[in-house]
């Protein structure tokens, strides 16, 4: 079943810069899709469009077969979580516990159910001991995990992650990759951490200048050095030693 269908979408920034140019692809249930590209290739913009935060100038986005309209976007957001690149944009409340509870409360759940979901989410992300801490006191990695816990507590069917390993130390990065790897949700990960794509994703889309350059199985797409360079990328570090 197709969860997201993106058909020939075009988007430009307010200053006129073209961000996306007739982009088309789909995300099926159970996919773990990586979207890789150099800075400015349009990855983050694409995720914002998929979440309904931006409206494409042309083209169509559909969720579970229904084209985006107000009701579809509302119901899509109850089943989809977006992890922002900067977790400070996502952690609003005075303590981690309350912030993780924010989403379930907005779903209208009872306090008992909210508490159960929060405990579960904190456990899944391994940050139970941080529940009473204020978000601004957390390290970068802890903030990312807290933001992720906030999404897990909503029990989404699909996760959209924008540069999840950006700014993380190696240990936090490993921890995050392990958590994402264990989930059974459909996931779309926009990143230029190609080693993460190798570890976690089955399929990868390479973007360049707002267009899709390739869409295929992970090892095949990422192993061509010349091709990767032409897209403004390098080989994953795991491959770099093998190819000459």
């Amino acid at each position: 079943m197709k969860v997201f269908e993106i058909e020939k979408i075009c988007y430009s920034y307010p200053d006129g810069t073209k961000a996306l140019d007739e982009l088309s692809f789909s995300v099926s249930e159970g996919d773990v899709l990586g979207i890789a590209g150099a800075n400015g290739s349009g990855k983050s913009t694409l995720l914002m469009l998929m979440m309904g935060c931006l409206t494409p100038l042309k083209g169509r986005i559909a969720y579970l077969g229904k084209s985006f309209d107000r009701d579809t976007v509302r119901s899509m957001r109850k089943e989809t979580g977006l992890l922002f690149q900067d977790p400070d944009d996502q952690l609003f409340l005075p303590t981690v516990w309350e912030d993780v509870a924010f989403g379930p409360r907005n779903l209208g759940l009872s306090e008992k159910e909210v508490a159960s979901r929060v405990e579960g989410a904190l456990h899944d992300t391994g940050i139970e001991e941080l529940s009473k801490k204020a978000p601004w006191k957390l390290s970068g990695g802890e903030k990312t995990l807290a933001a992720l816990a906030g999404l897990f507590a909503m029990k989404p069917k699909t996760l959209l992650l924008d540069e999840p390993t950006s700014g993380l130390d190696p240990r936090s990065r490993c921890r995050l990759i392990s958590i994402i790897g264990k989930t059974e949700m459909t996931a779309v990960i926009a990143t230029h951490d190609l080693d993460m794509v190798l570890d976690v994703c089955k399929r990868v889309i390479i973007m360049k200048n707002g267009k899709i350059e390739s869409d295929g199985e992970v090892p095949g797409v990422l192993s061509d050095r010349e091709y990767m360079r032409s897209c403004g990328l390098e080989l994953p570090l795991s491959f770099a030693g093998r190819s000459s």
């Binding site: 935060c53 979580g81 977006l82 609003f92 005075p94 924010f102 989403g103 907005n106 601004w136 006191k137």
Partner: protein, 261 residues
């Protein structure tokens, strides 16, 4: 200095587990302030027993005296500026401590005593109850949702943006730039634009998690008082009334002097 003050208030976050209800502290402190300011402007010694309240609550909550002193001295100048004129314009003499002193000086001292006591009690209340605790209580008591959300968001992002402002200034100064009025636009302008961009991302993040206008909703039962709170409240309210209507310092002093002599 203000950034340090912001951070210093957080050291009390971990100490609030067995503390008193924020609503109780808010009500008591408000009653305290009204009691203190209701004294005539020539009262000095009669007010002093009221200092027992901030002293007790401050010690009970483990509030640092140094933090209090620093904050109070920072805001004292305006009060001194208003009060220091009293001795010049209120020159009727009166006997105090066996010496003739003008009423203006008495009213000035009274003003300073009131200022110190009220300011200390407010700062202690915030440290003991926590800003968020106070906001939640106010929300549960009926403060508009828009304002509660505003207070939470301000408290949340103040540190981030103040740090960003500090970094902006440092980066400018390290490259030899000056912070003058003529380049206010170049200093604050980019910070403002970054803040606006950030607010758009925050707005999207709020919407993505189902935000419908209220960041936090108060529950009425969160302002329910425990038995300890009620006893505490009754005791101090009675104390404020007794001090307001009776000169207890003189009564205790008379008794002591009689016993000793």
């Amino acid at each position: 200095m203000r950034l340090r003050d912001l951070y210093r208030t957080e050291i009390y976050d971990e100490r609030r587990e067995t503390a008193l209800s924020p609503m109780l502290l808010l009500c008591l402190t408000s009653a305290y302030i009204i009691t203190v300011v209701s004294f005539d402007r020539y009262q000095t010694l009669r007010i002093i027993p009221l200092a027992a309240y901030p002293i007790f609550v401050g010690l009970f909550s483990g509030v640092s005296g140094r933090d209090l002193f620093r904050k109070m001295t920072a805001v004292m100048p305006f009060v001194i500026l208003i009060g220091i004129w009293n001795p010049f314009f209120d020159r009727i003499g009166t006997e105090h401590l066996g010496i003739i002193i003008s009423r203006g000086w008495i009213s000035f001292f009274s003003l300073m005593i009131k200022f110190l006591m009220i300011t200390a009690s407010t700062l202690i209340m915030v440290s003991a109850a926590g800003f968020d605790g106070l906001c939640r209580c106010a929300a549960a008591a009926g403060l508009p949702e828009v304002l509660v959300t505003q207070l939470f968001l301000l408290n949340r992002y103040i540190r981030l943006i103040v740090e960003e402002a500090h970094n902006t200034l440092r980066a400018r100064v390290f490259r030899g730039g000056k912070i003058t009025l003529s380049n206010a636009g170049n200093v604050c302008g980019p910070l403002l634009m970054r803040s606006v961009s950030r607010s758009e991302k925050i707005h999207n993040a709020l919407l993505c998690r189902g935000f419908d206008g209220a960041l936090w909703r108060g529950k009425r039962d969160m302002n329910r008082l425990s038995r300890q709170d009620i006893i505490f409240g009754i005791f101090w309210t009675a104390y404020f009334l007794v001090v307001r209507f009776f000169d207890i310092s003189r009564a205790i002093g008379d008794l002591t002097v009689r016993c000793v002599i």
